[in-house]
Symmetry: C2
Subunit: 474 residues, 2 copies
C-alpha cells in the first residue's frame, strides 16, 4: 500500500469526524460585511487557527484594518514520503481559502436556520445545508482534512505547506494585498492551490482556468433636501428615483450588451483551443432554467451560455433602495436613492478604466438637477491560469485517481481576487481545484455542500500532496 | 354687531382652546396605510365624532371595508340668523375632511416626535409641528372650530350642515364611493366644502379651481426562483432589478415628457382666462428651489412651473426595493424586485385608459425572461371646479372679509378623490377653500401648520356660513 492509499483509507475511516468539524465551523456566523458580526468573524479565525495548530503547524493571526488573516506553516515530513527526502528542498504548496461568509438574507427563504447546519438527503446522497457550506467553509475543510489525515498517518504533510485563510473574501479582499506584501517572505511558495470553485458535476472533477474580475460600486443620488408630496411637487421637483433608474435602465442595449462607451474595448476572445474544449462540454440551457427556477435565460444575444459566463463581461444591479418601501402607497418624492451595481470583468479589462467609463456614463445620463456620488466597494481583475505549469500535472493525476475520470477544463464566472494578487504581488500561479456544484446555491438561501464532494475533495487534496512529493524528484 | 362679528370675536377669545384641541387630535397616530395602526385610526374617528356630538350634531360612525367614516348632521339654527329663517329650507353645506395621515417615515429626519405636537416660532409667528398638522387635521379643525363658535354664540350653525370625515384619503379613498352611494339621502347638499389645499401665501387667501387625479401602481418583477450568485449566473440568469429599471428608466423621454404611448391623448390645455390668471401670479422658481433644497427643478421642458404643476400630468417613482439593501456589498442576482409608480392625471385623462397604456409599455419594455404583475393601489380623476356656482360668491366674500384682500384663483397638483366622486355620484360641486402653505412639508418630515392659518381658516369658515345664510334669501 502506498503512503497515499493509507492516507485515503484514514480519511474514509474518519469521515464522520470531518462532518462534525465542518458542522462546528458552520455554526459561526462569520458575515464579514456586517459590522455587528465582527466578533463572530474573529471567532471563526481563531477556530481555523486552532485546527491547524493541532496538526503541528506554526500558526499566526495576522491583523488587518478589518478582519484577521490566518497564516499557518509546516516544513513537511520527509518520512511521510517513500524513501523520504534525503536532501534538497521539498516543494512548497500555499493553500488559500476564506472563513468569512455572505449575509444570509433573505432569511424568510431559508427552510432551516442558516447558522444551524442541517444534514438532509438529496439526489447525490447526504448534503449539509448552511450559509458558507460550499462558499467557502466546506471547501476549506477539504484540504484541512487532507492535512489532518497526512498528520495522523505520517506525522505531517509529505511536502512543505503554508495555509492562508482570510476573512474578507466576500467583501472584496480589501486588505489581502497588503498582507501578501507584508508576509512575502513566508509566502514564497511554488504554487497556490484554491478550493473555492466548482467541479463539472458530482462525478466529474474540473480544473478552472479562467476567472472573471469585478468592479462593485454604489451610486448615491440626491434631489430635494427632504421628502416631498408628489402631488404638490410632481413635475417640478427633481425625483432621485426617476433619475437613478434613468441611469440603471440604460446600462444595457437591446442586444443585452453593456451600453457604457468603451466597455468592450479590452475584451479579448479566448484562444480557439479553449473555445473548442468548452464547445465539447455538454450544455443544457433547459436544465439551467429549471435549476434556477426561471422562465428563460438572459444576457448577450448570439453568445453561448458558457461563453457569456466564462469569457464575457457583465453588469448586474445587486440592490436598490429609495422612497417608501412599506406596505400600501405613499405619494412621496424621496430626498435620495441609491443602487449597488457590479461589473464582472474579463482578463485585460482594467477595473479603473471601467470605473472611469461608468462615471462618464452617469454624468451624461443623470438629470442635472440631481447631485450624485459613486462609492467603490471592491475591484479585482480577471485571470487566465497558465495550464502548462508543472504542478497542474499533479493536480490532474490526483483528480483522475480519485474520480476515475479526467478533470474538465472550465471557466468560472465568479471572482477570486487572491488569484490575480498572487501572480501580481508574489509571482505565484494558482491551481483552482474546486468541489462545489452549480446547484449549491452559493450566496443564496439554503446554500448546501454535498457530503460526497467533501469526501472526494479531501481525498483529492491528499492525493495531490502525495503526487507533488513523489513528482518532486527529491 | 352682526351675528358673524360675534362669532369671529368668540373664535379669537377661544383660540388657545382651539390650539389645545388640535394638539390632542394630532397626538393620535392615525396612519391609514399601516395595518398595525388600525386601532389608532379608529381612535381618531371616535375623537372627531365626540367633537361634533358636543356641538349637538347627530353623529354616526359608518363602517367600511377598512377604516370608518364619520358623518354628523345639524339642521341649522334659524335663530342664529338676523331675523331668523321664518320658512323655507335653509341651504345645506357638506363639509369634507379626513382624519387619517401619511406615514411619518423617514423618522430620523424629524427634529421632534411626529406624534408629539410641538409649537415653535417661525417667520409667520407660531406654528405647530406634527404629522397631519396641515394634512388634514389642522384644516379639519378650521371648520370644526367655526361650527363650535356658531354653537357657542348662536346655539348652532346658521344653516343646515353635514360633516363627513373619512379615514382613507391618504390611501386613495378606496371605500368612499360606496359610502357616498349608501348615504346619498343624508348627503344631498347644495355644495361640498373642502379644506385640504393651500392658500397663495400666509396673507393671501386662495380658491383652488383645478385638482389633478392619480393612478397609483406597484410593479412586481420576478426572475429566478431564488437569489443567485452574480458571478456564477451573471450574464445568464434574468436579473429582475435590471429588468425593472429598464422599464422605469424609459418612462420619461429627453424632454421630460412621459414616454408611454398615448399618455397625452386626452390632455386639454386650460382656457385662456385661466392661463392668463396664472401668468399674472408672481412666480419665483429660485424661491421654490430654496424651499425644497434642490439644485434645480425638473419636469417638462418649455412649460412654466405652475402649468407643470396645475395642468400637466406627471409620473413619479415613489418607492423601489430589490436585492441587498444592507451595508457594504453582496454579489447577488435577486429573485424579485418591485416599484411603486404614481401618475398625476389632469381632467379628461381616464385612469383606466392610462393603466392599460402603462401595461402595454411594460410588456413591450420588460425582458421576456422575467415574470411581472401590476397592482393598482388607487385611481382618481382630475377635476375642474365650476367657478360660476353661486356659493363661490359667499366663499370669495368670506375670504376677502377675513384677509382684507381677494382670493387668488389657483390650481393644485395634488389629488382629492372626493371632489370627483361628489360630482359623479351625488351631483354636488365642491369649493376648495384651503389654508395650507407650500412650505408646510405635507407628507414630509417636520410637517407643520401656521397657527395664523388655523385662526384665519376658522374665521373664514365662520364668515362663509354666515354669508351663505344671509345670501340664501330665506
Amino acid at each position: 500500500m502506498t503512503n497515499i492509499d493509507a492516507v485515503l483509507r484514514h480519511l474514509d475511516a474518519d469521515f464522520d469526524g470531518a462532518v462534525a468539524r465542518l458542522t462546528e465551523f458552520l455554526r459561526i456566523p462569520s458575515v464579514s460585511t456586517d459590522p455587528a458580526r465582527a466578533g463572530e468573524v474573529r471567532r471563526a479565525a481563531h477556530w481555523i487557527a486552532d485546527q491547524l495548530a493541532a496538526l503541528d503547524f506554526s500558526v499566526s493571526l495576522v491583523e488587518t484594518a478589518r478582519h484577521p488573516t490566518v497564516i499557518a506553516q509546516h516544513p513537511g515530513t520527509p518520512g511521510g514520503l517513500d524513501g523520504g527526502v534525503r536532501d534538497g528542498v521539498p516543494p512548497h504548496i500555499l493553500y488559500y481559502g476564506h472563513y468569512d461568509v455572505q449575509p444570509p438574507e433573505p432569511l424568510e427563504e431559508w427552510t432551516t436556520d442558516p447558522f444551524d447546519p442541517t444534514i438532509i438527503d438529496g439526489p447525490h446522497g447526504k448534503r449539509i445545508v448552511a450559509r458558507g457550506a460550499v462558499d467557502d467553509k466546506g471547501q476549506v475543510m477539504t484540504f484541512i482534512e487532507a492535512l489532518r489525515a497526512w498528520h495522523a498517518v505520517h506525522g505531517g504533510p509529505p511536502t512543505r505547506v503554508t495555509v492562508l485563510i482570510e476573512g474578507e473574501e466576500e467583501i472584496g479582499s480589501a486588505n489581502l494585498a497588503a498582507t501578501l506584501e507584508a508576509e512575502r517572505d513566508r509566502l514564497g511558495a511554488d504554487i497556490c492551490v484554491v478550493s473555492d470553485t466548482t467541479g463539472w458535476d458530482v462525478d466529474t472533477p474540473a480544473l478552472t482556468t479562467r476567472l472573471r474580475g469585478m468592479l462593485y460600486t454604489e451610486l448615491y443620488v440626491e434631489g430635494p433636501g427632504h421628502d416631498l408630496h408628489s402631488g404638490l411637487y410632481g413635475g417640478v421637483a427633481p425625483n432621485p428615483l426617476n433619475a437613478l433608474t434613468r441611469v440603471l435602465g440604460r446600462l444595457h442595449d437591446d442586444q443585452g450588451r453593456v451600453a457604457i462607451d468603451g466597455f468592450y474595448d479590452d475584451v479579448r476572445d479566448p484562444d480557439p483551443e479553449t473555445l473548442a474544449a468548452w464547445a465539447a462540454l455538454p450544455q443544457d440551457d433547459e436544465a439551467v432554467m429549471a435549476e434556477i427556477g426561471a422562465d428563460g435565460l438572459d444576457g448577450e444575444q448570439g453568445v453561448s451560455r458558457l461563453e457569456r459566463l466564462w469569457s464575457r463581461p457583465t453588469c448586474d444591479i445587486n440592490g436598490i433602495s429609495g422612497g417608501y418601501a412599506g406596505a400600501g402607497s405613499k405619494t412621496v418624492i424621496p430626498a435620495r436613492a441609491s443602487a449597488k451595481v457590479s461589473f464582472r470583468l474579463v482578463p485585460d479589462q482594467d477595473p479603473d478604466r471601467i470605473l472611469a467609463a461608468y462615471k462618464v456614463f452617469i454624468a451624461q445620463t443623470l438629470p442635472s438637477a440631481c447631485r450624485w456620488r459613486l462609492e467603490v466597494h471592491s475591484k479585482s481583475t480577471g485571470v487566465e491560469v497558465d495550464t502548462g505549469q508543472p504542478m497542474m500535472a499533479a493536480a490532474r493525476a490526483a483528480l483522475e485517481q480519485v474520480y476515475g475520470r479526467p478533470a474538465a477544463p472550465i471557466g468560472c464566472g465568479g471572482s477570486i481576487p487572491v488569484v490575480g494578487m498572487m501572480r501580481r504581488l508574489l509571482g505565484i500561479d494558482t491551481i483552482l481545484m474546486g468541489f462545489g456544484l452549480d446547484d449549491d446555491r452559493m450566496h443564496s438561501p439554503n446554500e448546501k455542500f454535498e457530503l460526497r464532494a467533501l469526501a472526494n475533495g479531501a481525498r483529492s487534496h491528499a492525493a495531490f500532496l502525495g503526487k507533488v512529493a513523489e513528482g518532486s524528484g527529491l
